[in-house]
């Protein structure tokens, strides 16, 4: 048997021999690891849900939007000649998974019993299969949104307007020239609310939106570029810069980078002294910047909790190690007397901690992953207030393999580091003193 094998066997036997202490400490480490996995999974889940919902409802991963100004003081969220924009985007962004275009508007929706102001998004539902998969319908048929003169609204809006599928509502909005125009639309689908983004949003066929705003066939509201998941976190700033440069080279005027949602820019754009078309390249985070504070808050909360949990682990392990060393002082003295070096004693205690940490964290991540899978399978409804920020009616905990690995690695490392100082003190004990110790 190799030396490492012998050391590992000794460490394992020592853990087994001190069964109660091992179980106590192991359970604590496993519990903390489980909590860490769940906390991390919750943050990741919220982030993923937010990205999925946002990129389905209101934004691409990267967007080419912009404003068209008929006069210096009137700005409309319009992209003219959008097909050429898509051509440039396809050439410039090889990371693109797919590209869609949508119309943007803000209108008054008038029903027989009420009215409300809300965003209207023009969509070609046939070209966006993911749209149907993210929305959960209360009633109606999402495919009917392909017919002109139709609308999809959310259940909270339907309740406020007092309407159901089949009812007609009138959409009223000012055109780019300032004349109010109206269209009648039939409600074909009512979807479950998806929180903040769905509260003020509705969907109509893009042709109906063009009819409302009197746009021509070459105009749209925004070109939305979707990327592969792996590129979403890392490459967006680089892609945005590249796209901005390519659009400028192709002859468009491009607005400087401004990390705000398009509707927050109306006032500043209207104040600027220019007319015609200017394009604006934004990321998904820019477009929902007004609500990413929920994600930031959750992250900060998670970090605080993780720090507290790690502090508890460190204190617990150090304390337990002190007790262990005190209990095993005579054993250390004997080992030193029969020729074990100080480094050997240090290694022995560290190996014990490493083994304990590894077993406990593996158990912890297994429990965390199982609980997360259970929660996801149960489709747990979150309270309405929380749905508003989570943008989903369900609690989703997203546990990835990499997160599990880093949890095991991190907590095990913390365990070893926490054990280092007590182990060092144990290694420094003089054999004579240690052997004469009565504890």
């Amino acid at each position: 048997m190799s030396k490492l094998g012998v050391d590992l066997t000794i460490a394992f036997r020592s853990l087994v021999q001190h069964r109660r202490r091992t179980l106590f400490l192991g359970t604590a480490i496993a519990a903390v690891t489980t909590l860490l996995v769940l906390l991390n999974g919750l943050t990741t889940g919220v982030r993923e849900t937010m990205i999925d919902t946002a990129t389905t409802l209101s934004t691409g991963h990267v967007n080419v939007g912009g404003f068209f100004k008929v006069t210096a003081g009137q700005a409309a969220p319009v992209v003219t000649d959008y097909k050429r924009v898509i051509e440039v985007a396809k050439k410039t962004v090889p990371e693109m998974a797919f590209v869609v275009h949508r119309g943007r508007g803000w209108a008054k929706i008038v029903a027989d019993t009420g009215s409300m102001q809300m965003g209207v998004t023009g969509i070609d539902v046939r070209s966006e299969p993911k749209f149907a998969s993210v929305l959960q319908l209360v009633s109606g048929n999402i495919d009917d949104l392909a017919q002109p003169g139709t609308i999809l609204i959310f259940d909270n809006q339907a309740e406020k307007l007092g309407v159901k599928v089949g009812d007609a509502v009138t959409i009223s909005a000012p055109t780019t020239r300032g004349t109010n125009n109206t269209v009648d639309v039939r409600i074909v689908a009512i979807a479950h609310s998806l929180g903040l983004l769905s509260t003020w949003n509705s969907f109509i066929p893009i042709e109906t939106l063009r009819k409302l705003y009197q746009f021509n066939q070459d105009s749209t509201g925004v070109v939305q570029i979707m990327l592969d998941r792996k590129d979403v976190d890392r490459k967006i700033p680089e892609i945005s810069a590249r796209l901005r440069q390519a659009l400028e080279q192709a002859g468009w005027r491009v607005m400087p980078a401004d990390p705000r949602a398009f509707w927050m820019k109306f006032q500043s754009v209207a104040r600027e002294d220019w007319t015609g078309q200017k394009l604006d390249v934004t990321s998904w985070e820019d477009e929902i910047s007004f609500m990413t504070w929920t994600l930031t808050s959750l992250r900060v909360l998670s970090i605080v909790l993780i720090v507290i949990l790690i502090a508890i682990i460190i204190i617990g392990i150090m304390n337990t190690m002190w007790i262990a060393i005190r209990e095993r002082t005579r054993e250390i003295g004997t080992l030193r007397a029969i020729g074990m070096h100080r480094l050997g004693v240090l290694w022995m205690f560290l190996l014990e901690s490493l083994m304990l940490g590894l077993f406990a964290t593996l158990t912890g991540v297994a429990m965390g992953a199982a609980i997360a899978a259970g929660v996801n399978a149960l489709h747990l409804h979150v309270p309405t207030g929380l749905q508003f920020f989570l943008m989903s009616p369900y609690l989703h905990i997203s546990v990835h393999g990499s997160a599990l690995f880093w949890s095991v690695f991190g907590i095990t490392l913390v365990t070893v580091i926490a054990a280092f100082y007590p182990s060092l003190r144990a290694a420094r004990l003089r054999p004579v003193v240690a052997m004469s110790h009565f504890g």
């Binding site: 027989d112 019993t113 009812d167 109010n180 039939r186």
Partner: protein, 269 residues
Amino acid sequence: MKKTRNTRSTTLVAALLAGFAVASAVSGRAAAALTTPQMVDILKIVDDRQKNNGDWRASAYIEQKERDKVDVVYETEYYRRSSDQKFMILFLKPKSSAGQGYLRIDKNLWFYDPSVGKWERRTERERIGGTNSRRSDFDESRLAEEYDPTDEGEEKLGAYTAQKLLLKGKGGIDLAFPMIRIWIDKETKNVLKRQEYALSGRLLRTSYYPKWKKVHSESKGGDVYYPEEIRFYDEVEKANQTLVMIKAVDLKSLPANLFTKAWLESKSR
């Protein structure tokens, strides 16, 4: 044996008679149900009786009653031209609404508000002046052109026997209501009652036409019928109702420039 034969022949005759009776009943019912061309013919008569084939000018008093609100009476004048389906309604009173108006040109309905000096394009669902009346309530009837009928049999409405039809809007036409249940007096072909629905089947409004009048039209070469009084009951906001009284019908030709935005704007200067 003879008795058995007699019994058999009696049974056969009874069976034949019963069969005939059933067949007569079925054929009688079939005769009572109107065919689509027959229903379209009825609608064409209804439309034709209200058609002028010329210009029209009349006053309309619109009284709006709403829950927890003071009753409002609008005094309006409205104009229409059959040849190109142009329409205009001008508000004269109360003072706050004076000068407002609706203009329908090229099948687009425009609303003008002199207080902001702006035109707004509206749809046929627009509530005229915020009341429960629609533009089509003041226009010539075009039921045969705009709706597909289904027979719902006859029904007594007080002393009148009415033909009840369910009308479903034809595609691609801007209509105030996509579905209407209509009661037409069998004798005169005047509309007695209408129930207007959303496509979901929700009842939105019930209208009654208690008084019909006629006026001779030279351009038509016959009489033009119009409802002197229409009562609209809001079925969504149950307490709300609208009364429309039509007076002073004048069928003389109107100035060529009347159905223009400039003309309507000039009325508030």
